[in-house]
């Protein structure tokens, strides 16, 4: 029983990160039909913002030493600011572009951010000690879960409910969803759509900041490509969750983490290296049986 619970915890530990990241991706996707590949680089940027620019191997910590109650808002603000900046400078000009164009633009933007970091910090991974107290595992019913992951799970769920309530219940949320569906029509109804979208970017950027904090404290590393893998999994979670459905994205994020964990547990040692092949195979299966996603977002299916 304890070991089963442990598997659940391990799955949650991995999944919570994907789930939280998926929220940031799903939000922007829901609002703009934009698959924001720059999101991963925003995550990396947030971590590097804690270090002084230097190409030495040893990281020169700068804001990273702040007490947590300053550190956390700072990182969230950096993420939000960079994200809003990217909307102002780049994405605003792509309102009418097709999704593929926006996606490549976001990819190019991510490229710019990545190489900018590379110039300042070199490609060498750097080590930082972020919120070290959070690495301690805690025991629940004989199963172990790092405090950090527990916090991640709680944050994910809180953000999910917060965002959902925000989108469902507030005027701003309603306007955001309307602008997402039909930008021009929303404007014709007096919605200041550009501001609304900027708000979405700010939220998504702050979520990137949150991921940065979690990844940073979990891995102890600042790495130019650190956001990329999480971003990729989050993107997949967004799609199999049902495009634009926040709850779907979160569930799918946890699901991906669980599949990976379960594969790791049940596969014989020789096959474990192929774990990802099984995980992606499962992704294909989910898509084949539920092309619209686990919780298909409302309006996703056009009627004839």
């Amino acid at each position: 029983m304890g070991s089963l619970l442990q598997v659940v915890f391990d799955a949650l530990a991995l999944g919570s990160l994907y789930a939280l990241a998926a929220l940031g991706i799903a939000l922007i996707f829901g609002v703009m039909r934009l698959v924001n590949f720059a999101h991963g680089d925003v995550i990396a940027f947030c971590v590097f913002a804690l270090l002084w620019p230097s190409t030495d191997a040893v990281a020169v910590v700068f804001a990273g030493n702040l007490p947590w109650f300053l550190l956390i808002p700072l990182v969230l603000a950096v993420g939000a600011a960079l994200s809003v900046l990217s909307e102002l400078v780049v994405f605003r000009r792509f309102r009418r572009a097709n999704p593929a164009t926006m996606m490549i633009a976001s990819f190019a933007l991510g490229f710019v951010i990545r190489y900018f970091l590379l110039m300042l910090y070199s490609s060498r991974p750097k080590s930082i000690s972020l919120l070290p107290a959070l690495s301690q595992p805690i025991e629940i019913f004989g199963a172990r879960i790092p405090l950090l992951q527990l916090i991640t799970i709680l944050v994910t769920i809180a953000v999910l409910f917060g965002l959902t309530a925000f989108l469902r219940r507030t005027r701003f949320g309603l306007e955001m969803r309307a602008a997402a569906e039909n930008f021009t029509m929303a404007r014709m109804l007096g919605v200041r759509a550009n501001r609304v979208i900027m708000g979405a970017f700010a939220l998504s950027g702050a979520l990137a900041g949150a991921i940065a904090l979690i990844l940073g404290s979990q891995t102890g590393t600042a790495n130019i490509t650190m956001g990329a893998n999480v971003m990729l999994m989050a993107f997949i979670a967004t799609v199999i969750g049902g495009m634009g459905s926040l709850a779907g994205a979160v569930i799918a994020g946890f699901l991906l983490g669980s599949i990976a964990t379960v594969m790791q547990v049940i596969l014989p040692p020789d096959a474990r290296a192929f774990r990802d092949a099984f995980v992606y195979g499962a992704v294909i299966l989910v898509l084949i049986f539920r092309p619209q996603g686990l919780l298909s977002a409302r309006g996703a299916k056009e009627r004839v």
């Binding site: 698959v35 780049v90 000009r93 792509f94 009418r96 572009a97 097709n98 999704p99 593929a100 164009t101 996606m103 490549i104 633009a105 990819f107 190019a108 933007l109 991510g110 490229f111 710019v112 990545r114 190489y115 900018f116 590379l118 110039m119 990329a228 993107f235 997949i236 799609v239 199999i240 495009m243 290296a273 192929f274 774990r275 990802d276 092949a277 992606y280 195979g281 992704v283 294909i284 898509l287 084949i288 092309p291 619209q292 996603g293 004839v304």
Partner: protein, 355 residues
Amino acid sequence: MRQSPALRSLSTPILLSLLLVCFALAAVFAGSRPFNQTIIDIFLQVIFVVGLYTFVGNSGVISFGHIAFACLGGYVAAWTTIKPMLKGGAMPGLPDWLMQTEIPYWASALVAALWAALWAGIFGSVLMRLSGIAASIATFAMLAMVNSIYSNWESVTSATSSVVGIPIVRVIWPYLIAAIIAVFVAWAYSISRHGLALRAARDEPTAAAASGIDIPRARLIAFVLSGGIMGAGGALYAHSIGIVTPDTFYLGLTFTTLSMLVVGGMSTLSGAVLGVLILSTLIQVLRWLEAGVQIGTSTFALPGGVQEIALGAVMIVILMFRPTGIMGNKELNLPMAGSEKAGRQGPEPQTTNKE
């Protein structure tokens, strides 16, 4: 007199091929081996982007997975062209007959095309039912699966370690010819009945179904064909540098290829080819700048990393001003439909009388 549309559009692949020939000639006249290699790379990229275009351009489904077929092709080159002796060491799990096989590079490219097309058929028959972003993710999952398998199947792919001993081909002609063939194949497909049906389905899937078009099947045909092109490209890529590893054929190449296609204009063949030529030229120029150019007495050089930043910025700017890519929805065509000479002879004497 109007010519048939098919014949009229023939000028597109011809013009594109001439452009490629110009690049090849530039390499020959420059006589520098690194430059020659650069042009070879450009031709390989043309093959990849044209292969991707064959599916993406006609179906409108963004595929993140096509580089998997290049991977399959690259390993076919490894399986069929490495000396049997070497093969045994690196990939002991190969079946005996394959172990003994040693064929020339062009034959390996052909086999690679068939092998990749076969797998495109197998994956495609499952995936082509999906559309939109779900299809994109499914193709990505396919890529990740292939990558995971090839990165770990020690006995037949040598896992993550580079497979060496693939004969290196450093002359430019085979690559030029392959790129031109790819261009013509893509062109022939897009004007074929299958291509036409698929493009119709791209714009209006509902109406296409109501017009009797079997959309999954139409997509599958394009998928198989483009998989074949990618496979051949992958094999030639292996011959251009002499090694293959699975991570050559993963996210990096996927995004380069997609970017070139989208920046060029993903719904036209001209966009596919010009996207490669323009971006590659840009990259090359930036690299020269980065390496330092002599202006007068002083050398001017960009600091390292600026090249990539500039490339990203230029791509964004191009897309800002041309959201449908450089070519938009237009094909490169002779200004005067039907007269094959017009393009090359420069401005024709103005003898036409205006009504």
